[in-house]
C-alpha cells in the first residue's frame, strides 16, 4: 500500500465486480468521494434522529404519493358514484372524490397507501417541528448554522403547504369546509383579497378549478421546493459537520462520534426501515381521514367537531379565540367605504407572523445581544442557557394555547364544561400563558444548574446514612469521576455585556438597548463550578464525600 508502488503501475482489477467498479470510478472519481466521506465522523444522540425521521417521512411520502397519483383524478366534474362502497352508491360527487373512494375501496392496497401517505404527512411536519425545537433549545442555530436554521424554517412552511394542499385534494366535505375557511381568510385581506380569492378558485368559491390547481402545487411545485431545500440543508450539514453535545473530549475544534461506515450508515439506514415500519403499523391499525364517512363536498352540511390536520390547528385556534365583538366594539370596520374585517385578518396573520418572524430572526437577535461571533459546534444543554430556553418554552406555550383552541369544542364536550368558559380561559392564557411559562422555565433551568453545581462540588447522594462517633448522622456523598464532573462544569455562562462606546467614543442608543437586553438575558446566571471551589468544598465540606472503606470515613467533617 505504499504510495509509490500504487502510483507507478496502472491498477488492474482482478474480479468482474472489480472491473465494473473500476470502470465507474475512473469516470466519476468515486475513490476520492469515498475517501472524503467513507469514514466521516457523525456524533450520536437520540435527539439527532428527529431530522432523520423528517427526511425518511419525506421519502415515504414521495413513494406512497407517486402510487396515489396513478389512480387519482383531480377533476371537479360531476359524476355519480358506482363503486363498491354501498352507502354512497349513485350519489352525485366530483370525479376527484370518486377516484379517492376508488383508491380506498377498489384498488388493492390503495387504502393502505392512502393511510401511509396521510400518516407520513402528519409525522413529517411533526418531526420537522420537534427537530427545530431541538435545534433551538440546544443553540445549534448559532454561527455557522444560522442560514441552515432559516432553511429549516422554510422547510417547515413548505411542509405545512404540502400538507394543506394534499389534505384538500379528495374534495370531501371536511376538506371542502377547510377550503371554505381559507377562502374566508383570503377575502379578509384588504384591497386585493377578493381578487386573490377569485384568481385562486378561478371565480366564485368553490368553482371547478381549485382541486386541479392544488394538485399541481401538491405533486410538483411544493415537493420540488422541499427537495431543493433538503439538498441545501444537507449540503450545509456536510460543510459544517454535525454539532455535538458537550462532554469530556468534545470541543468546538473536533467532532466525536462514529464513522459513517459502517456504524453510522448502518444505524441511519436501519432507522429508515424502522420509520417506514412504524408508519406501516399505524396505517394498518389506525384509520386516518376516512373520507367515505364525510361524503362529497357540499356547501350546506357540516359536521360538528370539525378539525383541521394538526399543523394547521394553531391558525384555526387563533381564528376561534379572536372575539368578533367586545362590549359592542366591533372588529369589523368600514374604512372609507371599504370593509376591513380585523376579526379575521388579525388572528389569521398576526400570531403566525410573529412566530415565524421571531423564528427566522432569532439567531441574529441572540448574536446581536451577545456580540458572540465565534463558531459554536458544541451544543448548549438547555439549562445552561436559561433565558433562551425560557423564550423557547414561552413561544411553544403560546403555540400550544392556540393549538388547544382549535379543539375548544371537543374540550368542552369531552370534559363536560362550557364551551364559552373554555374559550375565555384560553383567551386569558393566550396573553399570560407565555409569561408564566417564561418565568417558570427560567427558574427551573437555574435550579437545575444549581443542582449540577451541587453534584459537581459535593458528589452524588449515595443513600448511605452513616453515624459519626459523636452521634451525628450524615449521608455519604460519592464524588464524581472526572468525566462525569466535566459534563456538569464544562459550559460557558456569559455575564451581561455592558454598553460599549463605538469608535467615536459614543455609546449609541442602540448599544444601550442591546446592553439592556444583554442584562435581561444574562442577569440571572449560575457559573460553572471551578477547581478552586471543589478544593474548598473538600476542605470545608459539611459532610464530605467518601468513596468507600471504613478508613476514609474519618476524613469527613
Amino acid at each position: 500500500m505504499s504510495a509509490s508502488s500504487t502510483a507507478e503501475a496502472p491498477f488492474v482489477p482482478k474480479t468482474k465486480v472489480g472491473s465494473f467498479t473500476n470502470f465507474v470510478d475512473e469516470r466519476v472519481g468515486g475513490s476520492g468521494i469515498l475517501r472524503e466521506f467513507g469514514r466521516k465522523v457523525f456524533p450520536d444522540h437520540w435527539s439527532f434522529m428527529f431530522g432523520e425521521v423528517a427526511l425518511y417521512s419525506f421519502v415515504i411520502l414521495l413513494m406512497s404519493g407517486t402510487f396515489l397519483t396513478f389512480f387519482f383524478d383531480p377533476s371537479m366534474a360531476e359524476t355519480h358514484y358506482q363503486g363498491s362502497y354501498t352507502p354512497l352508491y349513485n350519489v352525485e360527487m366530483s370525479v376527484a372524490y370518486n377516484s379517492s373512494l376508488n383508491i380506498s375501496f377498489d384498488v388493492r392496497g390503495g387504502l393502505f397507501m392512502r393511510q401511509v401517505h396521510h400518516w407520513a404527512a402528519l409525522l413529517f411536519v411533526a418531526s420537522l417541528g420537534v427537530h427545530m425545537l431541538r435545534v433551538f433549545f440546544t443553540g445549534a442555530f448559532r454561527k455557522p448554522r444560522e442560514m441552515n436554521w432559516v432553511v429549516g424554517g422554510v422547510l417547515l412552511i413548505l411542509a405545512m403547504a404540502a400538507g394543506f394542499t394534499g389534505y384538500s385534494l379528495p374534495d370531501d366535505l371536511l376538506s371542502g369546509n377547510g377550503l371554505r375557511i381559507i377562502d374566508g381568510v383570503i377575502k379578509s385581506i384588504p384591497v386585493i383579497g377578493t381578487y386573490i380569492s377569485f384568481f385562486l378558485f378561478g371565480g366564485e368559491f368553490p368553482g371547478t378549478a381549485i382541486i386541479g390547481r392544488l394538485y399541481v402545487l401538491h405533486i410538483l411545485l411544493v415537493p420540488a421546493l422541499i427537495l431543493l431545500m433538503i439538498v441545501i440543508h444537507l449540503f450545509m450539514v456536510v460543510v459544517h459537520k454535525h454539532t455535538q453535545y458537550p462532554g469530556p473530549g468534545r470541543n468546538d475544534g473536533n467532532v466525536v462520534g462514529y464513522p459513517l461506515g459502517p456504524v453510522y450508515a448502518a444505524k441511519a439506514g436501519g432507522f429508515f426501515f424502522i420509520v417506514f415500519g412504524v408508519l406501516a403499523l399505524m396505517a394498518a391499525a389506525f384509520t386516518i381521514n376516512p373520507i367515505w364517512n364525510y361524503g362529497p363536498y357540499d356547501p350546506s352540511p357540516v359536521s360538528a367537531g370539525t378539525q383541521p390536520d394538526w399543523y394547521i390547528g394553531f391558525v384555526d385556534g387563533a381564528l376561534r379565540l379572536m372575539p368578533g365583538v367586545v362590549n359592542n366594539f366591533h372588529f369589523e370596520w368600514i374604512v372609507f367605504g371599504h370593509t376591513l374585517t380585523l376579526n379575521v385578518l388579525l388572528p389569521a396573520l398576526v400570531p403566525a407572523g410573529i412566530i415565524f418572524t421571531v423564528l427566522f430572526t432569532y439567531p441574529w437577535i441572540e448574536r446581536w445581544v451577545t456580540k458572540d461571533n465565534r463558531e459554536h459546534h458544541v451544543l448548549d444543554r438547555p439549562r445552561n442557557a436559561p433565558t433562551r430556553t425560557a423564550i423557547g418554552v414561552a413561544g411553544f406555550t403560546w403555540y400550544c394555547v392556540m393549538w388547544a383552541a382549535a379543539g375548544s369544542d371537543l374540550i368542552a364536550t369531552h370534559f363536560h364544561v362550557s364551551l364559552n368558559d373554555v374559550t375565555y380561559w384560553l383567551r386569558t392564557l393566550f396573553f399570560i400563558g407565555p409569561i408564566i411559562a417564561f418565568i417558570v422555565t427560567k427558574r427551573i433551568a437555574l435550579a437545575l444548574q444549581r443542582k449540577d453545581r451541587e453534584i459537581a462540588l459535593h458528589g452524588r447522594e449515595t443513600g448511605r446514612i452513616v453515624r459519626l462517633p459523636h452521634g451525628e448522622f450524615i449521608e455519604v456523598h460519592a464524588p464524581l469521576d472526572e468525566y462525569k464532573r466535566y459534563k456538569l462544569v464544562g459550559f460557558e455562562s456569559p455575564a451581561p455585556l455592558p454598553a460599549q462606546p463605538n469608535e467615536h467614543g459614543v455609546v449609541t442608543r442602540k448599544e444601550k438597548r442591546r446592553a439592556a437586553l444583554s442584562k435581561w438575558f444574562f442577569e440571572d446566571r449560575v457559573a460553572p463550578a471551578t477547581p478552586a471551589e471543589l478544593e474548598a468544598a473538600h476542605a470545608h465540606g459539611h459532610h464530605e464525600a467518601i468513596t468507600s472503606g471504613e478508613d476514609q470515613k474519618s476524613l469527613s467533617h
Binding site: 375501496f105 375557511i181 462520534g257 432507522f271 381564528l319 379565540l321 466535566y486 464544562g490
Partner: protein
C-alpha cells in the same frame, strides 16, 4: 443543604465574582476510556447477537410473504364489504410493518452489538480560510475588470433596467387565472325571476315548503327553487344561497324597523353561511334560539335578528325576506338585502349598491 447552595439568589455573591474567563476552569479530561461490550469479550454473546440479527431479518421475510398473500388471496370484487377491505388493509399493513421493522431493527442491532463501538475524534477545519478568501476576491476583481462593467455604466444601467422590467410579463400572464370579482358576491339565486318569486325548497331534494309544514321549534335546511336544475355553477350558487328556516313564537321575534314583514307567522329565514369565514351555521339550539357555527363557534341569537352573542363573527347573519304565495308555499320576496358570507374589501360598497 444551606452550605452548598452556592448559586442561590440570596447568595449570588458566590457566583462568578470574577469575570468568567479569568476563573480557573476544569481541564477537559478527554474521551472516557472505552468500555467493552459483552459481545466484544464473550464469543457466546457475540454468537447470540448474530442469531438475533438473523431472526430479525427472518421476520422481515415473513412480513413480505404476509403482504403478498394478503394482496393476492383477498380479491376486491363488486361484492366486497368494508370488513374485507379492513382485513386486507390490516394484513398488508402488518406485512409491510414486519418486513420493514425486521430489516431496520436487525441492522441497528447488528450495528450496536457487533460493529465496533469505538467513538473516534476528527478535527474540524475552517469553513473558510483567509487564503481562499483572498484568492476569491482576486478572481472576482479580475472577472469584473474583464467585463468592464465599471467602466461602461451605459451597459450596466440598460441591463439593470431590462432585467427589472423583464419579469412583468411573467406576472401579467397569470391575469386569466380567474375572472374579475365585479358584483358576483353581491347577488344570490334568491333574486326574483322577473315577477316570479323563488320558492323556499328543501335541501337536498328541492321540494317546496308550505308554511303549515313549519311547526314551532322546527328547522329546515333550505335551497332556492331551481338550484338542482342548474347545469353549471350549482355549487357556487348553493354556497351563497343556503338558508336556515325556523319558526319561533312570533312574540319572541323583535323585528327592527323595515323588517316587520320579512317573516311570516314567526317563520324566519337566515343565511346559513357564517359571516366569519363562511362555514355553514348548521347547529340550531331550539331552546335558546341560538344558531351555532361548528367551525369556530360563532353564536347568533335568533330573537335579536341573529346578532353575534359569542365567538369570532362580527356581523349578524343576513335575513332573507319571506312571505307565502297563493298556494301556501313559502317564497322569498327579494334577494338578501346585503352580501352573504364572509366579509370582503368591497362588501360595504356592494351593500350600498343592493339598497340603492
Amino acid at each position: 443543604m444551606g452550605n452548598h447552595s452556592d448559586g442561590s439568589p440570596n447568595h449570588s455573591g458566590t457566583v462568578a465574582t470574577a469575570g468568567q474567563n479569568e476563573v480557573e476552569k476544569f481541564q477537559d479530561p478527554g474521551l472516557p476510556p472505552h468500555r467493552l461490550r459483552l459481545a466484544d469479550t464473550d464469543p457466546v454473546a457475540a454468537k447470540r447477537a448474530e442469531r438475533q440479527v438473523a431472526i430479525l431479518f427472518g421476520t422481515s421475510v415473513i412480513g413480505t410473504l404476509v403482504f403478498l398473500v394478503a394482496y393476492f388471496a383477498i380479491d376486491l370484487g363488486d361484492d366486497t364489504t368494508i370488513a374485507t377491505i379492513r382485513t386486507q388493509n390490516l394484513l398488508l399493513g402488518l406485512g409491510t410493518a414486519f418486513a420493514m421493522l425486521g430489516i431496520g431493527t436487525g441492522i441497528v442491532h447488528w450495528a450496536k452489538a457487533l460493529m465496533p463501538d469505538h467513538e473516534v475524534s476528527e478535527e474540524r477545519h475552517a469553513i473558510r480560510t483567509e487564503e481562499d478568501r483572498q484568492a476569491a476576491v482576486r478572481i472576482v476583481d479580475d472577472i469584473v475588470e474583464e467585463t468592464g462593467i465599471k467602466r461602461r455604466p451605459l451597459i450596466r444601467n440598460t441591463l439593470l433596467g431590462a432585467v427589472a422590467l423583464a419579469p412583468l410579463p411573467a406576472l401579467a400572464i397569470f391575469g386569466d387565472l380567474g375572472p374579475r370579482p365585479d358584483k358576483a358576491l353581491a347577488h344570490t339565486m334568491w333574486a326574483p325571476d322577473g315577477d316570479k318569486l323563488k320558492r323556499l325548497t328543501r335541501d337536498p331534494d328541492g321540494t317546496p315548503i308550505k308554511a303549515s309544514d313549519v311547526t314551532i321549534g322546527s328547522a329546515f335546511h333550505v335551497i332556492p327553487e331551481g338550484l338542482n336544475e342548474l347545469h353549471e355553477g350549482k355549487l357556487n350558487e348553493k354556497a351563497k344561497a343556503v338558508v336556515l328556516l325556523m319558526r319561533l313564537d312570533p312574540n319572541s321575534l323583535n323585528p327592527s324597523k323595515g323588517r316587520e314583514n320579512w317573516s311570516y307567522n314567526g317563520i324566519v329565514a337566515y343565511s346559513k353561511i357564517c359571516t366569519h369565514v363562511g362555514c355553514p351555521v348548521a347547529l340550531y339550539e331550539q331552546q335558546t334560539h341560538h344558531l351555532l357555527c361548528p367551525c369556530h363557534q360563532s353564536t347568533f341569537d335568533l330573537t335579536q335578528e341573529c346578532k353575534v352573542i359569542f365567538g369570532p363573527a362580527s356581523r349578524p347573519l343576513p335575513q332573507l325576506p319571506i312571505a307565502v304565495d297563493a298556494e301556501g308555499y313559502l317564497v322569498a320576496t327579494s334577494d338578501f338585502r346585503e352580501p352573504v358570507g364572509p366579509s370582503y374589501w368591497e362588501r360595504d360598497e356592494h351593500e350600498r349598491l343592493i339598497n340603492s
